[in-house]
């Protein structure tokens, strides 16, 4: 990966989205969204179910390419790389993703789930290096202490919350610059949800990483993020610093959403 050599276009934003539109089977899902996130910050994309949050996320890493009859307009820059001007497989390696339902590969051990990205992308030269990387990623996901003695176990022996942290480790093992999370705590018990949030916060301390987290709960958005984008039926209603939006929402819809009324 040539992340180091990337020159920062614009103002050094980690993520720039410019007038992004997405259509799926003729339906306008994302309607002209623009936003920028500075490096090493957490953006929470919040909004009710079906508002287009997940689609926005998939437009950022081009998983949207997998959806038949989908069309994207606009620009996405990730650390200066034009996502739609490059090979999708290359740009996806700049990013990691964690999904709503924990989805570790069921046919692989805990170790292999973390190792598969670096291994298949040929990022390591030796077994020792891979062992180190797997350990590092599991530590960053705050799972290492719970699995260090059972790395060869299949992932379904883990609890749902542990599986989700395993998925986080799988994404982190590729050392992504941008980490995308699609309601990562939606199917996880509260204790594990807190652990995941803690892990995300601590990532920012010592890594060059920026996080975009999709959530439908305003509490999580306010608790964890530096910036909030509030999306309603595909449109960006409000975007800004979390404190500003939490304390001084300008739009009536935002107020209602924060109160849990929409």
């Amino acid at each position: 990966m040539e992340v180091e050599s990337v020159t920062f276009e614009g103002k050094g934003y980690a993520l720039q989205v410019e007038d992004l539109h997405v259509w799926i089977r003729g339906k306008h899902i994302v309607k002209g969204i623009s936003l920028e996130v500075p490096r090493r910050r957490i953006l929470a994309v919040m909004g009710p179910s079906g508002s287009g949050k997940s689609t926005l996320l998939r437009a950022i890493n081009r998983l949207i390419d997998l959806i038949p009859e989908s069309r994207v307009e606009g620009r996405v820059l990730v650390y200066g790389t034009d996502v739609y001007g490059e090979d999708p497989y290359r740009v996806r390696r700049l990013m990691g993703m964690v999904f709503q339902t924990p989805n570790p590969f069921p046919n692989m051990s805990i170790y292999d789930n973390v190792a598969i990205g670096p291994r298949l992308n040929r990022l390591v030269r030796s077994r020792e290096e891979l062992d180190e990387l797997v350990k590092w990623a599991l530590e960053k996901a705050m799972l290492w202490d719970e699995v260090r003695d059972r790395l060869d176990d299949p992932p379904h022996r883990l609890s749902g919350g542990q599986q989700q942290r395993l998925c986080l480790a799988r994404a982190l093992a590729l050392k992504p610059r941008l980490l995308l999370l699609d309601e990562p705590t939606g199917n996880v018990d509260p204790v594990n949800a807190v652990k995941i949030e803690e892990a995300l916060r601590s990532l920012l301390k010592d890594l060059e990483i920026t996080i975009v987290l999709v959530t439908h709960t305003p509490h999580q958005a306010v608790r964890i993020s530096d910036y909030i984008a509030f999306i309603y039926s595909g449109e960006l209603i409000e975007f800004g610093l979390t404190d500003t939006i939490a304390l001084n929402p300008r739009h009536e819809l935002t107020v209602k959403f924060l109160r849990g009324e929409v």
Binding site: L66, F99, F105, G117
Partner: protein, 279 residues
């Protein structure tokens, strides 16, 4: 007991009786094969599996060339048919909108029901006649054609059964499509794929019609190469059951038991594969 209870009891008893009727023939087949075949196997001993067939009214002999033929045919036709089926299925699943892939899908479903004797005739016309000889190769080709639609359909279903989220997870790791398919999806669907392969294998073990005019029915020599004449257990049963000789009828029963045992083994293995708890 009120009227509704009574109705339910009658319905249940009726359903049970009918299901019993439906499976009865299966038991009848199994039991008569075991009943008639076991005696033959006990009397002939291990040489039934290692010897050659007897002359008319001349004892039991063995079915070694036919047994070897059946196994070799299944292996050869699998070598020809399974890779093709795998790629056809992957192609159909990965590029659902491609016209060729749509063709593969429709054709493989249509071929499921193709009369097997027609396949035999086709191979006779395009392989046996030009080559001027029957051969294991011709038989294997005919069986491969029988097997491909089955394996393709099963593998297709196995791959389609893999939840979309694993595909997304694979691509999100920056993996190329072949990597996602071969290193992730095939791995997750491996039990379904293996089951499909075993079912295709079992299917060709018992086929008779495609071999009638492709194999040459040499049941006295074990085939050593793809261009040798060969025989199968199914053909041996077909021929010997129609002879007027009592000893050959008994050889046919013994052969039927051997073939059924091969089936049962494959059936049990595939049951084990699909039963294993998943996720």
């Amino acid at each position: 007991m009120d009227a509704r209870d009574l109705k339910e009891k009658i319905f249940l008893a009726g359903a049970a009786l009918l299901s019993l009727l439906a499976v009865l023939p299966v038991f009848h087949v199994l039991l008569s094969v075991i009943w008639n075949g076991l005696g033959v196997l006990m009397e002939a001993g291990p040489s039934f599996l290692t010897g050659v067939p007897p002359p008319p009214n001349g004892g039991l002999g063995g079915i070694a060339p036919s047994l070897a033929g059946t196994l070799l045919l299944a292996v050869l036709s699998s070598l020809l048919g399974i890779p093709l089926s795998l790629f056809a299925a992957i192609f159909a699943v990965e590029f659902p909108d491609n016209p060729l892939a749509k063709g593969v899908r429709v054709l493989s479903k249509a071929l499921l029901e193709i009369p097997s004797v027609v396949v035999g005739m086709l191979i006779y016309a395009v392989v046996v006649v030009p080559m001027g000889r029957f051969s294991m190769l011709a038989g294997s080709l005919a069986l491969a054609i029988m097997m491909i639609p089955y394996v393709t359909t099963y593998v297709e279903q196995a791959l389609e059964g893999v939840p979309f989220t694993y595909r997304e997870a694979g691509f999100a790791l920056g993996l190329s499509r072949p990597r996602v398919v071969f290193d992730i999806l095939v791995g997750i669907a491996r039990r379904g794929i293996l089951t499909g392969i075993l079912i295709g294998f079992a299917k060709v073990l018992g086929e008779t019609a495609p071999l009638l005019f492709t194999l040459g029915r040499d049941r006295y020599n074990v085939p050593l190469g793809p261009l040798d004449y060969g025989d199968s257990i199914s053909l041996l049963i077909f021929d010997y059951a129609q002879t007027p000789y009592a000893n050959m009828h008994r050889v046919a029963w013994g052969a039927a038991l051997v073939l059924t045992a091969l089936f049962l083994i494959i059936f049990l293995v595939s049951r084990r594969l699909t039963e294993e708890v998943f996720l």
